[in-house]
Each structure stands twice: as C-alpha cells, then as structure tokens.
C-alpha cells in the first residue's frame, strides 16, 4: 500500500512498458498493472482515511482524555476514564441540546420537504419562464450559509428589522422578539433553515417527478381519478425512492447544523438554540475542553450512523 502511494503512476507505467518489451512474464506484468491501477485510487483512499477515518477514531480516543487550555502548550492530555462522558451527560445542557437538535431537524425537514415538494409539483406545469424562475430559486441555497444567517439576523431584528415593520404595517403587531426571546429563537432558526433548504428539496424532487412517465397520470385521469387522488396513489409511490434520498440527505445536513446557528444566535438566548453541533463547538473551541467536545461529537456520529443505514438501504432499493 505504501509503495503504491510513493511511486507515481507515470513511473509505474513506464516500468510496466519496459518489462513488457524485455521479456513477457504474464504474472509479473499483471502484478505491475495492478500496482499502477492502484496508483490512481490510492491518493483518494489515503486522503479520505486521513480526513474522515482518522477523525472518527481520534474522536473516540479524545473522549477519554483530559484536555485543558494548556494541553496545546505542553501537549499533555492524560487519559481520565469516563470522566468526560459522565460530565457531559450530567450537564442539563446536553439534554437540552439533544432536544433542540431533534426539534430543529424534524421541524426543518417537514418545512423544507413540504414546501419543496409543493414547489416541485408546481414547476412540473408548463408555463412561460418556468425554467428561468426555477433556476433562480436555487440562489438562497448557493449563498454561504453563514452569510444567509447574518442577513436574516438583520431582517429578524426586533426593533428595526423589516419583518417586524412589515407585520406592523399589516396590523399584526410589530415587536416579535424573533431571535432575542428564548421561547421564539428556536422557531425562528428553524424558519430560516427551511428557507435555506427549500431549493435543494425542490430541485431533487422536481428531477424525480420528471422521471415519472406522463402516461401514468393520463391513465389515472382517464379512470376518473381526481388530481389529489392521482398524486397520492400514482405520483407519491413512484417518487418514494427520491423522497427517501432527499429526506436522508436533508437529515444529514440538518442534524449537524453549526454555521447557521452561530450566525443567527450563537446558541442563545439562554442556550435556547444550543444543538449538538454548537455544543461540540463550544466545548472544544470556546472552552478548549476537547474531551467534552469529543463526547458530544461521538453522540452526533452515532445518530448519523443510524441514519447512514437508512441511506444505504435507500440507495440499494434504487438498484444502483
């Protein structure tokens, strides 16, 4: 393995050609060819082992180590058994963060998926400018998430934000503390995340809808099925594989949320928007307690792993 990485593919192929002209030794030639073929794949495998495999293992080890602010000067992080684990689990904040993560993920997914599906169905109609409008809707998804968060922070400002002035003009009362009240903040953060996720859901579901043969809809219409009935009994079942993929991918990107919450509320007010992602960040990079951060991170991985199984099942059921 290590020799494969060290020798660039070019050298390997040159050597292969050289032996091929000298004397044909089929077994050796085959081994050479294998080696040069691995040369193509090895850099990516090594990269992924370093940037995904290593952190997974390292996080488990770190969760049993005592990190302190001085660790990065003296390099000392002695093992401390399950201290980190019991400390994290005894802290009320962990339970809160777990609950917020669940609410945030489910709320975001329902909103993103529901609105995304409605828009996807809407855009299957043929009308002028359809393609143009559909592609522009992608824009919110392409803007850096932390930037979207900051823009929304201005919009949701209690005293001078445009949402409250709009509500005021419409007569709904214009002083909702969107991000500053512990009772409202999580809801507001979910709303913003729904806005971010709609385009992605819409595009994938739209792609899925395009694959469904038109004749099936026509057949259902001829049989006298209503639009809603056709949608429920023909469209949805055929769309199921795409729905599973979109929900699982949505889950993966939502459960680990960090950028958006840091930009909108920094986990506050009164920890009301603290999630497992922000808790990992704050333990490790604010309090420099990387051991506690690793514990929360491991819980996050465990949750993701459970859903990874769903994802793979979904992938397999698609037959690819």
């Amino acid at each position: 393995m290590s020799t494969t990485t060290a020798s660039p593919p070019a050298a390997a192929t040159a050597a292969e050609n050289a032996t091929a002209t000298k004397q044909p030794d089929p077994l050796r030639a085959r081994r050479r060819r294998r080696l040069s073929q691995w040369g193509f794949i090895a850099p990516a495998v090594v990269f992924m082992l370093l940037f995904f495999g290593y952190p997974l293992v390292r996080n488990i080890v770190m969760s049993f180590q005592d990190f302190s602010p001085s660790t990065f000067f003296d390099g000392k992080a002695p093992f401390n058994g399950t201290d980190n684990w019991s400390k994290v689990f005894q802290d009320d904040l962990f339970g809160k963060a777990l609950w917020h993560t669940i609410v945030f993920t489910i709320g975001s997914l329902i909103g993103q998926f529901g609105i995304g599906l409605a828009l996807a169905v809407f855009f299957t109609k043929k009308f002028p400018l359809n393609g143009f409008l559909r592609s522009l809707i992608l824009l919110p998804w392409l803007v850096p998430m932390v930037v979207s968060g900051i823009v929304w922070r201005r919009i949701l400002d209690q005293d001078t934000g445009v949402l409250n002035s709009l509500f005021d003009t419409l007569g709904f009362g214009g002083s909702t503390p969107w991000l500053t009240s512990p009772g409202m903040a999580l809801f507001s953060v979910i709303m913003v995340n729904i806005w971010i996720g709609i385009p992605f859901n819409m595009v994938i579901l739209y792609g899925g809808l395009q694959e469904i043969p038109k004749e099936l809809h026509e057949a259902a219409a001829l049989d006298g099925a209503s639009a809603w009935r056709t949608f429920r009994s023909v469209t949805l079942p055929l769309l199921k594989p795409v729905i599973t993929v979109v929900l699982v991918l949505g889950f993966m990107s939502t459960v680990k949320i960090l950028d958006l919450i840091l930009a909108l509320t920094d986990g506050g007010p009164a920890d009301s928007t603290q999630t497992l992602g922000t808790l990992t960040y704050q333990n490790s990079f604010v309090q420099l307690d990387f051991g506690a951060g690793a514990v929360v991170g491991n819980v996050l991985i465990l949750i993701s792993a459970v859903f990874a199984v769903f994802y793979l099942r979904a992938n397999r059921s698609e037959g690819k």
Binding site: A12, T13, S36, I41, F123, L133, P140, V151, W195, A305
Partner: protein, 276 residues
C-alpha cells in the same frame, strides 16, 4: 370540453407564471434585502427603507477596505481546494469506474459513508493533528480541509460519468501505445469534461462557503476567508450593518455568477450527485 381547454389554456399558463414570480420574489426577498441594506449604509441601527433613496456606495467602499483581503483569501483557498479536490478525485473516479480491482466496491461504499461524518467532528480531531503538523493558520491546511468537503461528492459524481466511457475507447488508446496515465489525461479527462466542470464548481462553492474549518483551524488573522471575516465583524461592530451587508453581497457574487454562467452544470450536480 375540448374548446374550453383550448381557449382557457394560454390565460391559465400566464397565471402560473405570475404565481411563479410571486414565489420567486418571496424566496429571494432576503437577498434583495441584503442588497438594499448594503445600499443604505447610513441607516445604521434604524429601520431600512424598502428601496434605497440614493445610490450610496460607501458601504461597499468600506466593505472592500475591510473585507477585500478576506475575499482574496477566500478566492485563493477555494481555488486551491478545487485543484486538490480534482487532482485527488478524478483519477480515483476513473479507477473506480474502469479498473477491475478487488475492494473497489468497498471504497465506493466508504466514499458514500464519508458524506455522513459531521464537519464539526472532523474539525474537533483535525485541530490537534494540525497543531502537531504546523498546519494551523496556514493556507495549505485550510485548502486541504476544504478540499475534503468536495472530494467524496466529486468521486461519486465523476465515477457515475466515467462508468459510461466504453471499454473499447480505452483499450484502443492503450493498444496505440499510450500508458495508463496518458490514456487518462488525453482520452478519459477530455471525454469527462462536463462532469469535471460540475465537480470543480461544487468543490469551489463548498470551499468558498466554508465557515466551520475557517473558524476552527485558524487561531490568528493570518488566513481569514470572508465568511469568517463577516462573522467576526458583526461581533465587533453591531451598528455598521451597511458595510456588513455590502461584504455579504460581495461574498454572494460567486454563487450568483456561477448560477447564471454554469446553470446546467449546477443542476446536473445536484441531481447527479445525490440521486444517482
């Protein structure tokens, strides 16, 4: 029945267009508000008017003075990440698509799995490794980390295209005496041009939008991309929304430009990378 549909059809179609425009305006309103606020740097902590009264670009001038360097850092880091991503992912995608090697199936499987590892978990472990390797506060360190955001996606996407390259084409090139590497560079890559562009675009957008690695793998101001620059700026100058929004507008430009210029690649990437 038939006549009814014929006469009412054109009207109904434009009705849908109007509905579509309303939906689009609702979705894009926050982005409009970003531009609008950027053009009213004087409003400070006051309410912003719905349209800018005059064309005041001073928000943009101060944004460029304060964040210009960070924008440049973002560009350098993102381009570096794209280069690393494609250099690592393209050969692997080819190998996984065309070579019959033992274990390739598990590598493809592993590649899918990596997309599920939360970024903050990676950062948590990577930080101490970066400290040991002297990669904290370095351009190269951030480029590597940002490249990791795009590599699994790039491999999956390009592989799905490269599987479709006929074996005969590759064999013909090799019969003509081209080595594996030359076949790859001169035959396979040009044929996979579209998937290469799509993968590169997404690698760029991932790296350009990255905030988490920038936040966690930097302890000084040496390497500060614009996402981190804006975030730290609002922490320090809450009142100066005009220039924050101007900087936000500038940071959103690559996404907007790519969406206009490379729309079909982006659409292909979203559907190809996630569904297939």
């Amino acid at each position: 029945m038939a006549t009814v549909t014929v006469t009412s059809k054109p009207k109904r179609r434009w009705g849908a267009t109007v509905a579509g425009v309303v939906i689009l305006c609702t979705m894009l309103f926050p982005l409009y508000w970003m531009v609008n606020t950027a053009l009213q740097p004087d409003s400070g902590l006051l309410e912003v008017s719905p349209v800018p009264g005059s064309l005041d670009l001073s928000g943009f001038t101060s944004a460029i003075t304060e964040q210009g360097g960070h924008l440049l850092t973002s560009l350098v880091v993102a381009l570096g990440a794209v280069a690393i991503c494609l250099a690592v992912a393209a050969p692997a995608a080819y190998g996984l698509a065309q070579f019959r090697l033992p274990g390739t199936k598990s590598i493809v499987f592993g590649t899918l799995i990596t997309q599920m590892v939360p970024g903050i978990v990676i950062a948590n472990a990577l930080y101490s490794a970066y400290v040991d390797l002297g990669l904290v506060n370095s351009y190269f360190g951030l480029m590597l980390a940002d490249a990791s955001l795009g590599i699994p996606f790039a491999i999956v996407l390009m592989r799905s295209f490269m599987v479709a390259i006929p074996k005969e084409v590759i064999e013909a090139a090799e019969v003509d005496g081209a080595g594996k590497l030359r076949t790859f560079l001169q035959v396979v890559l040009p044929m996979s041009r579209n998937s290469l562009i799509t993968a590169g675009l997404f690698a760029f957008l991932y790296a350009w939008s990255d905030f988490m690695f920038a936040l966690t793998l930097n302890t000084t101001d040496d390497v500060k991309p614009v996402t981190l620059g804006i975030y730290q700026y609002i922490g320090a100058h809450v009142g100066d929304w005009g220039s924050v929004m101007a900087a936000s507008v500038l940071s959103a430009i690559p996404a907007a430009v790519l969406l206009v210029l490379a729309q079909k690649y982006i659409a292909a990437g979203i559907t190809g990378g996630s569904v297939k």
